[in-house]
């Protein structure tokens, strides 16, 4: 099930995400004061290379981490195996990469100047 290769990918992405998660939690606690708005979010993130790299690496790491974690659960709790298991894991990875990448792009560089 979890070979050395998948285990290393799981732990390395976790190590990358630990400081990112702490940063994200801090931003959330700070930003939620007085409610959220699109203008407020975009004012912080738009055109910022730093936020693009921060959330971009977060999305890359979480796509790999979540896909491996869910793969184990699908196998252990639902008995999914073989091609089906590989297909579902890769699909989740692709879904998170696609939606996450689009979200990061939307709040940083897309429509810059708007």
């Amino acid at each position: 099930m979890l070979t050395l290769r998948l285990y290393m990918a799981q732990r390395l992405t976790a190590l990358i995400m630990a400081p990112l998660t702490i940063g994200h939690l801090a931003v959330m606690i700070y930003a939620v004061q007085g409610g959220l708005s699109v203008a407020e979010i975009l004012a912080r993130t738009q055109g910022s290379l730093a936020w693009f790299l921060f959330y971009g690496s977060f999305v890359l790491a979480v796509s790999v981490h979540a896909a491996i974690g869910i793969r184990v659960i699908l196998y252990e709790w639902l008995g999914v195996k073989g091609v089906m298991l590989a297909g579902l894991s890769w699909s989740l990875c692709a879904l998170l990469l696609g939606l996450g990448g689009r979200a990061v792009w939307a709040v940083t560089f897309a429509g810059a100047g708007a």
């Binding site: 976790a14 939690l25 606690i29 979010i41 659960i73 996450g100 939307a106 429509g111």
Partner: protein, 113 residues
């Protein structure tokens, strides 16, 4: 489901880590989809953000922040267990992870009010 051989705190710590992971994996696609609305339909996103002012939604957000924090602290506990010299205080660390997660999510909740 909780059979006798499982009724000990470190098994519950495992279950909490697994369930919080599932919760986050289910939440993330929605989270990403909503954020992308900032580009495609800002008005709809603003409408949604206004909806998050409701108390019940804030409670749900408290839950999500707790899931994220408890999964991170629980994960750090597991990596410390695997990569640092062994400590016999495993139960204390598991309890500390939950306490820290509760502290952070409560801070978030109080700021959001």
């Amino acid at each position: 489901m909780i059979r006798p051989h499982r009724s000990h705190s470190l098994w519950y710590a495992f279950l909490l880590h697994r369930l919080s992971g599932i919760g986050l994996a289910l939440f993330l696609p929605i989270h990403f989809y909503m954020l992308a609305l900032a580009l495609t339909d800002p008005a709809q996103l603003d409408g949604f953000l206004a909806f998050t002012d409701l108390l019940i939604v804030k409670c749900a957000e408290f839950g999500l922040v707790f899931l994220l924090a408890v999964h991170m602290f629980g994960g750090l506990r597991l990596m410390a267990l695997e990569f640092l010299p062994w400590s016999p205080r495993q139960k204390t660390y598991a309890a500390t992870a939950v306490a820290l997660a509760f502290f952070i999510s409560t801070s978030f909740f109080l700021q959001a009010m």
